[in-house]
C-alpha cells in the first residue's frame, strides 16, 4: 500500500480542480470515490459543496481515519481542465496510475497556463455579437454588441483581479454595458434590446442553473440550493446594473 498522504494529496487535488473549474458537486464526489477505489482504499466518505469539500478515508474498515477539509474559494468555468482531471481519475480507477504518478499528472494540470487574456476578450466579444444577431439584431447592433462584449470581458476579469466580489462585479458590468449601448444609441439609432441582451447572455451562464438542477436531482440539496441562489443572484445583480443605467437616461431610449 502506497503512502496514505500521497493518496490523500492526489484525491484532494483532483476534487479541488474539478470544483474550481465548475463541475457539479456530485461529479467531484464520484471522482473521489473512483480514485479511492483505484488506490485500494476501502472506505471513503466525501461531501462536496460548491464552496468546499470534506473527505474521510481509511484503508480498511476499522483502520485509522484520515480527514481533510478543502476550501474552494475561486470558481470559474474551465472545461478543458475538468476534462483532463476526469481523464486522470478514470485512469486511476482502472488501476493504471500509482498515487505518485496521479499526483504528478494533476499538478501538471494545475499548472497548465490559462488561455490568453486577450483571446478570451475577443472570443467573449464575438459570442456577444453573434448572440445579438441570433436575437434579431441588425448590422449596426452587431457592432454595438461587439463593443459591449469587449467591455464586459475586459472589465469582469479586471474586477476579479482587484478582489471585487463577483456579484458586485456583475452589477457594475451590467451598468457599464447598458451605458455604452445607450451612448451608441444617441450617436446612431440601434435596437437596444438585442444589443444589450445579446451582450450579457454569456454572463447569464446556463452552467450554474444546469448544475443546480442536476445537483438537486441527485439529492444534493445543499449544493443545489447554493447554486440556484448563485444563478438567481447573478442575474438579479446584472439586471439591477442595467436598470440603473436605463433609469439614468429617463425615457430617452
Amino acid at each position: 500500500m502506497a503512502d496514505m498522504n500521497v493518496m490523500l494529496d492526489a484525491v484532494c487535488l483532483a476534487a479541488r480542480l474539478m470544483l474550481e473549474s465548475g463541475s457539479e458537486t456530485y461529479r467531484a464526489e464520484e471522482t473521489v470515490e473512483h480514485m479511492c477505489k483505484g488506490f485500494g482504499i476501502q472506505k471513503a466518505d466525501v461531501l462536496a459543496l460548491p464552496t468546499g469539500l470534506i473527505l474521510t478515508l481509511s484503508e480498511k474498515e476499522g483502520d485509522a481515519a484520515h480527514t481533510r477539509l478543502i476550501r474552494v474559494r475561486s470558481r470559474n468555468t474551465n472545461l478543458s481542465r475538468m476534462d483532463a482531471c476526469n481523464a486522470v481519475s478514470r485512469q486511476v480507477a482502472r488501476g493504471q496510475l500509482t498515487p505518485e504518478e496521479a499526483l504528478k499528472k494533476l499538478q501538471d494540470i494545475q499548472h497548465t497556463p490559462l488561455p490568453r487574456f486577450l483571446w478570451q476578450v475577443l472570443f467573449g466579444a464575438l459570442s456577444a455579437a453573434f448572440f445579438c444577431i441570433m436575437l434579431g439584431g441588425m448590422a449596426e447592433d452587431f457592432i454595438v454588441a461587439l463593443l459591449c462584449g469587449l467591455l464586459i470581458h475586459l472589465v469582469m476579469p479586471l474586477l476579479g483581479r482587484w478582489h471585487v466580489p463577483g456579484m458586485l462585479g456583475g452589477l457594475f458590468t451590467g451598468f457599464l454595458t447598458a451605458q455604452l449601448a445607450l451612448i451608441c444609441n444617441t450617436l446612431y439609432p440601434i435596437h437596444l434590446e438585442p444589443a444589450i441582451s445579446g451582450a450579457v447572455l454569456p454572463l447569464l451562464s446556463g452552467l450554474a442553473t444546469t448544475n443546480a438542477i442536476r445537483d438537486t436531482i441527485k439529492g444534493d440539496l445543499v449544493s443545489g440550493s447554493a447554486r440556484i441562489s448563485e444563478a438567481v443572484l447573478t442575474a438579479v445583480f446584472l439586471a439591477a446594473g442595467i436598470c440603473i443605467a436605463l433609469s439614468m437616461w429617463g425615457g430617452k431610449y
Binding site: 472545461l79 472570443f123 464575438l126 436575437l135 441582451s197 447572455l201 442595467i242 436598470c243
Partner: protein, 142 residues
C-alpha cells in the same frame, strides 16, 4: 430576420462561447451544432415555453449521447450548447418595463420569462434522469 441566419449565428455564438469557456477543441464543433439545432427547434415551436422545453430536451439528450460516444463528461457539451436558450431578452424587457413604471407589463413579461426558465429546467432534468438510469445499468459490466 431570416431563421437560417439566426440558427447560423446561434451556432457561431455557441462556438465562441465554447472557446471562452476553454472547452476541449474536439468537442466544439459538436456542441455548436447541437446549439444551432436546438435553437432551430425553439424557433420552429414558436418561441414559447413549449419551445423552450422541447429545445432543451433535445439539447440535453444530444449532449448526453455525444458524451457517451466520445467517452467524455456531458458537462463539456451542455454548458455552451445551453447558453443561447437562456431567456436574456425576456429578462431585459422585464427590466425595461420596471424602469418605465409599467408594472402590469413587467409582471406579465416576468412571468413569461420565469416560465421559460422553468421549462428549460424541466427539459434538462428529464434528459439527465433518462441517462442517469442508463448509466447505472452499464456500471456492473464495466
Amino acid at each position: 430576420m431570416h431563421w437560417s441566419i439566426q440558427i447560423l449565428s446561434c451556432a457561431a455564438a455557441a462556438f465562441f462561447c465554447a472557446l471562452l469557456l476553454n472547452q476541449p477543441k474536439k468537442t466544439m464543433p459538436l456542441s455548436s451544432l447541437i446549439a444551432g439545432l436546438g435553437y432551430g427547434i425553439f424557433l420552429l415551436l414558436g418561441q414559447s415555453a413549449l419551445g423552450y422545453f422541447f429545445a432543451t430536451l433535445f439539447i440535453g439528450i444530444a449532449c448526453e449521447v455525444c458524451a457517451r460516444l466520445t467517452k467524455k463528461i456531458s458537462t463539456l457539451f451542455i454548458t455552451s450548447a445551453l447558453i443561447p436558450l437562456v431567456p436574456g431578452v425576456g429578462l431585459y424587457r422585464t427590466m425595461r418595463y420596471l424602469v418605465e413604471g409599467e408594472y402590469t407589463m413587467a409582471a406579465s413579461c416576468g412571468a413569461e420569462t420565469l416560465m421559460g426558465i422553468c421549462a428549460i429546467a424541466l427539459g434538462v432534468t428529464i434528459s439527465s434522469i433518462l441517462f442517469a438510469n442508463f448509466r447505472r445499468k452499464e456500471k456492473p459490466a464495466a
